[in-house]
Amino acid sequence: MIARIRLAALLIALTLAGCQARAEPAEIGYSAAGLYNLANSYARAGKPGMAVLNYERASLLAPNDSDIDANLRHVRDSLRLASEPRSWFDRAFSVAGPVVLSWMGVFGLSLLGASLLAGRIDSRHRLIRLAAAGVGIALVGVTVFNGIILWPKLHEGVVITGATPVRVSPVPMGDALFVLPEAETVSMVAEHESFVLVRTRTGRTGWVSRANLAAVVAAKSDPGSP
């Protein structure tokens, strides 16, 4: 009896925590449509770096929005920047938005745990329990793989100024190794003071001033970060 009460209390606590996470007041709100419109405005204003940055941010919230994908590709093609098509792996595990996928994973985990517990308590309905466990594993798997796909994107940055020098060392007078075009997307590997160590799609690395680069997902500590 006591164990049942404890279990019930735990589930109530979980529900409350989930509701709190969902009901967190939005200090600065973002929507895929808002970011998409902002990116369109930057593109029309002739600022392709900011446009690509906001398209990338919008695609985080709406990965399957064809308009975002098309306009991002259009701006990048206009600048003669390489655009990699989405892989089947990417499409397969981005079937829904990140919010839906997140709760889908929680539901899958609950389904898996419940089916295992039911088997422990009662050995009847074996097929139903196995099916439920399989669905739970699949849902959790989709969420985990979606996280694996999105993780590198969270550490990407977009060059927002034209002809950005990439330096050999994180100081303004460091020798320039090469120049990055505006709207180029790079991976941010490390940071040192006001410089970011970046890696390009071709594997070249160097230091870029933070003023020339904007992270797709800026840190909370950054001034005016999303």
Partner: protein, 612 residues
């Protein structure tokens, strides 16, 4: 025969040694050289330019190109030249040099390291009277006294071929002060064949800085003689105080006649070295032409009133500063420049510029010097310091200061620049602009290539996300599946314990004493001995209940069991009753009854084990 063999061996060894020595001697001989004969001609005459290549190396032999001189190829010849006793094949190109104007021409050497050749072309044939000893025109001027001091402090070399003069504007200087100097080299026409190097100072306490790479060339008439004048401009500096004697010297090659005794009469008759050269065979001779010594007094810099940021700059300077761009974003590098102009020892002009400024990140500056075109100790030194603003808003760069010692005023001075203002605007990437704001700001911008082909805007609706990070990658959200997993694990463990309770009791989970009792009971059951079976069953229950009730096993009687358990569990009082009855009745149990009572006893023993 043996003697002949030894002699042959010695001969071979000597020849080998000779060849090796000769080869090393030949290695020192320049392989490509050029000559010009004569070194002085008149307009309308020609000189012979010969360029010779020794050895087998195929070095390029090209006629030089000199403005005002026309080189005309005459012939190419091959011959053997004997150098240090070794016959070397050589190739020579002979060209005729015809001047197109009068003047002094410098012909580049045959190789980059070779000294240049000098050809003097006199404007009028009558002026070159030295070429025509039998000239019936104007009388021959008297020769200059060799080694004599001439007007303007000029002192000729011993052979009268050249002079060097060191001009220093002051006789009292400070340590580290850069003093402009002029070094004049006067070469008498037809005597100097080549200049073998730049001038240098004879005193090691002084350094010669910023020596002009190519001297200025002019002509000068001294005591009625024509001199070719080369002038170098430079700065001298001294590193220690005291009184010093300073002179400059220049390496030269002059033409000296190998004078047989029998020609002494001719020398007495003509006297002039040029005439000696003209009438007799000559050889080149390397000399160092030195200037008369100049006395200098070097004063130490005063220690009194020396500023903390003084780095040894001595002279007269002014500074100015600027920053670019005038507006930037936080994190964007700006360049602060300090221009130091004036005259003095710019090699000691140094500044750390700004070391620490609030809301700014500063980096060490780097400098570059742009000397004046005419005077090396004048110019502009520019310091560039990268700065990065850490905070948006109107920022002020403090004034810059530069300290130096003024040798004219004889005191330390500090030049200051004006403070600079710069506007730091918030970063575009970090500002949360809306599409409308961007459109408004970019309304004046012309249509660009991205506009065409863009898909239309969306209608903004629905909930707003608090973060761009997907929910399932936010640590706060990850707490939910973590707690869920913990909860299911706990539930799994709890249900596992109950599940074990329902499972058949295994003998190894019981104590050794209980196992022994159960073994006795099983043995009695197999043999069908009901009395012995209940005896052991009763003993096991007495032991278990005695532990539970904190009594001695003997005190657990049928009455005590009835009193304490009553109707809660009827099996135990019944077992005690059967045990008493089995002693006297001789009634046998069925096999299934044995199993049932075994199960009851085992459960009671397990329950007892689980009780803390």
């Amino acid at each position: 025969m043996k003697t002949d063999g030894m002699s042959s061996g010695w001969l071979i060894a000597m020849i080998t040694t000779y060849l090796l020595a000769a080869a090393s001697a030949v290695a020192d001989v320049p392989l490509l050289y050029a000559t010009i004969e004569p070194a002085q001609i008149n307009m309308g005459q020609s000189a012979q330019y010969t360029i010779t290549n020794l050895g087998s190396e195929a070095q390029s032999m090209q006629l030089p190109v000199v403005a005002g001189l026309n080189f005309q190829f005459i012939r190419q010849s091959r011959q053997l030249e004997f150098v240090n006793g070794i016959a070397l094949p050589s190739v020579s190109i002979v060209a005729r040099v015809t001047p197109q104007m009068a003047g002094i021409f410098s012909i580049p050497g045959a190789t980059p390291k070779s000294p240049p050749l000098v050809l003097q072309v006199n404007p009028e044939p009558a002026l070159g009277s030295y070429f025509t000893p039998r000239n019936t025109g104007p009388p021959i001027k008297p020769p200059i006294l060799t080694g004599a001091t001439m007007p303007s402090g000029i002192h000729l070399t011993e052979d009268g071929a050249a002079y060097v003069r060191l001009s220093i504007p002051k006789r009292e200087v400070y340590v580290g002060e850069s003093v402009p100097v002029e070094i004049d080299l006067g070469m008498r026409s037809g005597f100097v064949t080549s200049l073998n190097g730049p001038p240098k100072l004879t005193n090691d306490d002084f350094t010669l800085n910023n020596l002009s790479r190519t001297p200025e060339r002019s002509e000068k008439i001294l005591a009625g003689e024509r001199f070719v004048l080369f002038t170098w401009r430079s700065d001298i500096a001294v590193v220690k105080a005291g009184s010093f004697s300073l002179s400059a010297e220049v390496p030269l090659s002059v033409r000296v006649r190998t004078q047989p005794r029998k020609d002494s009469l001719l020398d007495d008759e003509f006297g002039d070295p040029f005439l000696r050269n003209f009438f007799g065979p000559t050889v080149p001779k390397d000399i160092n032409a030195a200037s008369p010594a100049v006395e200098l007094r070097v004063l130490a810099l005063p220690t009194e009133g020396r500023p903390a940021d003084f780095h040894g700059a001595v002279g007269t300077f002014e500074i100015a500063s600027e920053i670019s761009p005038a507006a930037a974003e936080p994190g964007e590098p700006l360049t602060l420049r300090m221009h130091v102009t004036g005259s003095g020892n710019f090699d000691r002009v140094d500044s750390a510029m700004l070391d620490h400024v609030d809301h700014w990140k500063t980096y060490p500056p780097k400098s570059s010097f742009n000397p004046s075109a005419t005077d090396g100790h004048k110019g502009e030194k520019t310091f560039e310091q990268p700065l990065i603003a850490m905070k948006p808003g109107k920022q002020v760069i403090p004034a810059l200061a530069f300290s130096y010692f003024d040798p004219i005023a004889r005191r330390y001075e500090t030049a200051r620049s004006a403070p600079l203002g710069v506007m730091i605007t918030p970063s575009l990437a970090d500002s949360a602009l809306t599409a409308q704001q961007v459109s408004a700001s970019g309304s004046a911008a012309p249509q660009n290539t991205y506009t065409a082909g863009l898909r239309p805007d969306h209608v903004v609706a629905g909930r707003l996300a608090s973060s761009l990070i997907p929910l399932h990658l936010q640590p706060r959200f990850l707490a939910i599946p973590s707690i869920l997993a913990l909860a299911f694990t706990g539930a799994w463990m709890i249900t596992g314990r109950r599940h074990r309770d329902r499972m058949p009791v295994r003998s190894h989970r019981l104590s050794k004493a209980a196992n022994r009792v159960l073994a006795q009971m099983e043995d009695a059951a197999r043999s069908g001995d009901t009395a012995r079976f209940f005896h052991w069953a009763r003993a096991a229950m007495q032991q278990a209940l005695a532990t539970r009730w904190q009594l001695a096993p003997d005190q657990v009687t049928s009455a005590a069991v009835d009193a304490r358990i009553g109707d809660k569990d009827q099996d135990i009082p019944l077992l005690f009753a059967f045990a008493d009855e089995a002693k006297y009745s001789g009634h046998d149990l069925h096999a299934t009854d044995f199993a049932r009572w075994m199960q009851i006893v085992r459960r009671q023993l397990l329950a007892e084990k689980a009780t803390p």
